[in-house]
Symmetry: D2
């Protein structure tokens, strides 16, 4: 399902400005690698302070980055004066999150006036190869004031 | 569905030792408040570096803490030599995560030999009151070597 | 989280009229056992034509009934002129659906103006006892014209 | 993620034999259109007795067919003496299920020894065109005796 036009031509600047306000992204060391109409890629490096008990990156860290990628993929297709709010997200952990770097790639499946559905994948990158480690499906709501109806 | 007996009498020490190895918990300032057979409560304080773009705690931070609470609730009912791995978790965000402190309370719904299902709630605490802000359902797998089958 | 007042005093009649229009409910033999403010119970008997390959009731049949129960639990708290639409639902299968009769019990967790979140449980009943076999969490949207925004 | 080899060369016959035992498939008029290694397509025609209150096919009917498609996609990659059991499935409803015919297409994302993850899409077909109406992600367990561990 190709979605190629964004109603707000300044969507990249709007998304990047919102991303810069998410303090948790800086805390986790996440960068916005790419933002296109209906798509968003976020990436971060493995760090010793982001792990679970087996030494892999905690699934919640992946979910945090996947959720933001889903929200911004949806936001890219929204009007200039709107914001996004996650209603729900679901993550499947497919392989232990081992690797030097991780990238979350989100793509809108349904872009609605009030409800968007987004799918995302998280890949672990290591020595030039990448491996799928988690997937997410998220429901994102368009909001005008940051509060869910 | 009351689950009151844990096969490993030392489950509290086992869970707390594993929790101490999750470096992300220290990074987010999470404490293990309570661990009983089939139940686990984790809590953390709001911090300026854990937020999304509207100034609320990021949904992924809640999911991280809810997921660990679910995993340890399941772990409390497992044999001494086992570990836990999240297969999938699903979070619904019910209200903006505003508050001074947050607590995630998880309770096992199904304790299986290899597959457990856990439900959890996250509450925002403020001025002595608490409000439900998110819920999770998670599937947790019993593992012997930290790797999913 | 107790929700005890419905804005539409005729919610029971409204829900039962809508239920009667769901032809799949008659096809599966489902009855509306109970409708209260924020709660709905639906029940059906095991039949040989509702099964999966191991002879248990198919998980999708349970999901169908759980979804309708969630929708009507949410509908009970909505204004008189509104309808409901499921945005997403998630089912965990906890035990094989063996039994003579099944009941789905749904209860609203969050009743919003446009978005409601509902949890439900499905129990198998056999010889006077009942066993939890599946749980659902669903997001239900309030609509005015039957079409999602 | 391309998965092209099935360990059981007779997987098509095995899947079709199991499908024939799912009585609910006959009840709903579902046909197995295609079974390949890691993929399964199931289809059915709209009928007046499969609807919800707005006259669209009930979301639970879509979920039933999507779940079976996911299960058989996973089953195609399993050993000859194994069976499948759904642990959980999650459905997003993207558009009203209007159309003359519906097809569910499932594809394995992760094929594990005991746990597989499958994604599926449901399309409504009408007058030669098709439209995406629902998506599913499901976790399927390999079983030897039809009972979850």
């Amino acid at each position: 399902m190709a979605i190629t036009t964004a109603p707000d031509p300044a969507f990249r600047e709007r998304v990047r400005a919102s991303f810069a306000q998410q303090s948790i992204m800086a805390t986790l060391g996440v960068l916005c690698e790419r933002i296109e109409a209906g798509e968003c890629d976020l990436a971060f490096a493995r760090r010793d302070d982001l792990l679970q008990q087996h030494g892999f990156v905690h699934a919640g860290v992946l979910a945090t980055v996947l959720d933001s990628a889903c929200g911004y993929a949806a936001a890219s297709l929204m009007p200039a004066d709107s914001g996004v709010l996650s209603i729900e997200f679901h993550t499947h952990l497919l392989s232990p999150a081992a690797g030097e770097r991780f990238v979350a790639r989100a793509k809108v499946v349904r872009a609605g006036r009030s409800i968007s559905v987004v799918r995302a994948e998280a890949y672990a990158q290591d020595a030039g190869a990448e491996k799928l480690v988690a997937i997410m499906t998220a429901t994102i709501m368009t909001v005008r004031d940051g509060v869910q109806g």
